[in-house]
Amino acid sequence: MATVDYPLEKSRRQREFSLSEALYSWVATVDHKRLGLMYMTSAIIFFLIAGVMAMVIRAQLIVPENHVVGPQTFNRLFTMHGTTMVFLVGMPIIAGMSNYLIPLMIGARDMAFPRLNAFGYWIFLFGGILLYFSYLGANGLFGAGSAPDVGWFAYAPLTERAFSRGTSTDYWILGILVSGIGSIVSAINVIATTLSMRCKGMKLSRMPLFVWVMVVDAWMVILALPPLTAGQVMLLFDRYLGANFFNTQAGGSAVLWQHFFWIFGHPEVYILIFPAFATVSEVVPVFSRKPIFGRQAMVGAVVAIGFISFGVWAHHMFAVGMAPISNIFFATASFLVAVPTGVKIFNWLATIWGGKIRFATPMLFCVAFIFQFLIAGLTGVMLAVTPFDWQLTDSYFVVAHFHYTLTGSFLFGVFAAIYYWFPKATGKMLSETIGKWHFWLLVIGFHLTFDPQHILGILGMPRRVYTYAPGRGWEPWNMISSIGAAIQAIAIICFAWNVIRALIKGERAGDDPWDAWTLEWTTTSPPPEYNYETDPEVRSSRPLWDLKHPEDPDWKYE
């Protein structure tokens, strides 16, 4: 399809010529694409900040008894690193990707509630800034500030007034609580949009897998966040209104907080991985030149994961001294999650099988994702073996495991998505050469960083330690791990360079650079504000395949 210059667009562009007007148009926008890009940009900025924190953490641990930072600073660093990556990187990326892509993919002109959408973004950003404001204000503005230092899961009673004086913990509570409103709002919007705004012919059974996964994700956000919010409000009551929910000094329960947190926290890890699932399910078929294998099974698996993931939370608590029967129950549920997860991996594999694979950068990230997610899943199975978990929980093995899911899987999936959809969003191609540098450096850095951490866990190194003594067999692994982190940093610099370079002088993308099959590739790159001039109509789940292969369209087989 040719690139059309719409007169409407042109006049708008002229108007935006003045900087203040341009700024105003972004601040006041309710366009799902702009909001999507704003979510993504904010997430990337927070990602860079939390990434720098990770670098300081690894610098501190590169040798035993190091003095890069002291214990207080270190504890704040890992707290803010984890909190930022989960709530200010993972969550807005979900919102950003859903916002940008869902209306385009289902042939709609915007989300169902555009203004609510804008509200969601701004409240998220406010929450994030509130959390970071703790660096200045957490002891009250008169004293030096300090960030929260209670860990991203903020176990009680360390968060109670008796052990956490000042207001840093309150910033943690309120920052997350407020940014969570943004996540909920965007989840509601995703569900409403997909239920009511699909174009003609887009039956649920024809909806792209990406959209399916993000809808299930939205349901999970809506169900999982309230327990966290409830727990946080109870904690505020404890801290300021004399309640004693988690105050063990007055008969409260420390374990109760853990239940509240993890009934949110476990679904949350699936919530975070779903955008990667969604991306891989779109990218792998296009670059293998085959439809996704077992479409219905893929949808079924995602729904099954969604359900089961609400029944496994206490596998984070195998060491708190639960009764054997509870341990067995949660072990069983955790093993069961592995079954639909396996189905997904097998289906991706079967999609690749018999294809004609083009190893462009998005596909490279997807292939690495599958390998790494496989390992993440298998170490997850090991952790579900309760007795094994008694040894591994809260050790570096767990750190390695969840970075395999969040870096090796989620982040790789997000990079696949960025390389794949960046041309659509900006009209410019990212460089394949720099992309490959980015990819290979990240793969090498990732494995050097996290593979040795499995061994550290097996050798008894607990997580969240700011220092360790020499002579316990941990030195070489920590050294390798820190070197790997530096290599990852170089990879991220390549990425940043690639994006900036593409924005300035990237090759023009055209409407459909990847020869893809979903609706978003029919409109211009970047799409006009109204997405589609005329409402599209689809007859199968691969409308562009039908268009490109009139002799053998998909709808014949539906």
Binding site: P157, F293, A319, V320, G321, F335, G342, P387, L459, G473
Partner: protein, 339 residues
């Protein structure tokens, strides 16, 4: 795949070669020395093998696929055959994992039950572990002993099995008791009594860490479990049960110690020092380390610690008392006699 294989090889190498470094053996969850740790290690090893097999199969197929089905230069532009799925295949790769899961559930349940349901035999030693920010208190109620940071337990060999059952409590926040070669970890949670047991088959000093983040000095909350043959253990018990040594040559130093604020936080049995906020110092010199494993117990280290604990363990709950050099000398001289 090669990446993962490399890791596995390294783990195996580590299992075989991990020996001694410094004065204690390197901990490793796969080199168990106590029944629960053994059972855990066995089931863990099984899980690792099962996962390694699954990994080899899936990663092998994936590697094959990306090599075999890559687009080669000169390939035609025709699309490959479009395959949409197969219910039989989906069923197969749902059912096979289910069977594996079933096996894993069964073996896990067995070990969970046998570790958690073990009942103390009549001769079992009972001790209470109390977690403090950032040190460990060990109490032996039946023996009338209170000590800190170094848990002494009797050797439990096949000839004389004598397990130790631990009750775990915390006075402040949540901690976790983890000595990898003796058992998995069990959290030490305020307002809740947990328990665990060990029956070490080898004498020695086994090191572990607090494994639940508990605040500023979580990193420096080490555990030493000192496993002694029965006679040695009994000698240690007898010594610990005595009140503090009365050495007339340090009477003045003792007076100096009792007149500074140490007594508010520390107990020395048989004197007026009866604080319970910090570790019991009655037999301080019977310990190998100071401040939960941070320093070895030498006169210089002891002096440095008392002079400024914050320089050694920043943020710890013992303040620098700003003693004069004379007071410091006296306090150290006195403490050095507390065998």
């Amino acid at each position: 795949m090669t990446r993962r294989l490399a890791v596995l090889t390294v783990v195996c190498a580590e299992l075989v070669f991990a020996g001694t470094a410094g004065d204690h053996p390197i901990e490793n969850i796969f080199r168990p020395l106590s029944t629960p740790a053994h059972e855990i290690s066995d089931v863990s090893f099984l899980a690792v093998i099962i996962c390694a097999v699954i990994f080899s199969v899936v990663a092998g197929l994936l590697t094959y696929a990306i090599i075999r089905y890559r687009r080669r230069p000169g390939d035609s532009d025709a699309e490959p055959p479009q395959v949409y799925g197969s219910n039989q295949i989906e069923a197969a790769w749902t059912v096979i994992p289910l069977l594996i899961v079933f096996v894993l559930i069964m073996v896990s349940a067995r070990v969970i039950a046998s570790v958690q349901n073990a009942k103390p035999p009549a001769n079992a030693l009972h001790a209470t572990v109390v977690g403090h920010q950032w040190w460990w208190e060990f109490r032996y109620p039946s023996l009338g002993i209170v000590t800190a940071n170094e848990l002494h337990v009797p050797l439990s060999d096949t000839a004389h099995p004598q397990p130790t059952f631990l009750k775990l409590e915390s006075v402040d926040v949540a901690h976790s008791f983890w000595v990898p070669r003796l058992n998995g970890k069990t959290d030490v949670i305020p307002n809740r009594a947990n328990d665990m047991w060990i029956d070490p088959h080898e004498a020695g000093d086994f090191i572990g860490n607090c494994a639940e983040y508990c605040g500023t000095q979580h990193a420096n909350m080490l555990i030493h479990v000192i496993v002694q043959p029965k006679p040695d253990f009994e000698r240690w018990v007898a010594e610990q049960q005595l009140p503090a040594v009365e050495d007339p040559s340090v009477a003045a130093d003792k007076q100096a110690f009792l007149s500074v604020s140490c007594v508010n936080c520390h107990t020395v049995k048989g004197t007026s020092a009866s604080g319970v906020f910090g570790p019991d110092l009655t037999h301080l010199m019977s310990r190998k380390y100071l401040a939960s494993g941070v320093l070895s117990n030498t006169p210089e280290n002891l002096r440095a610690w008392i002079k400024d604990p914050q320089a050694i363990k920043p943020g710890c709950l013992m303040p620098a008392m700003h003693l004069t050099d004379n007071e410091l000398d006296s306090v150290v001289a006195y403490l050095r006699t507390l065998k």
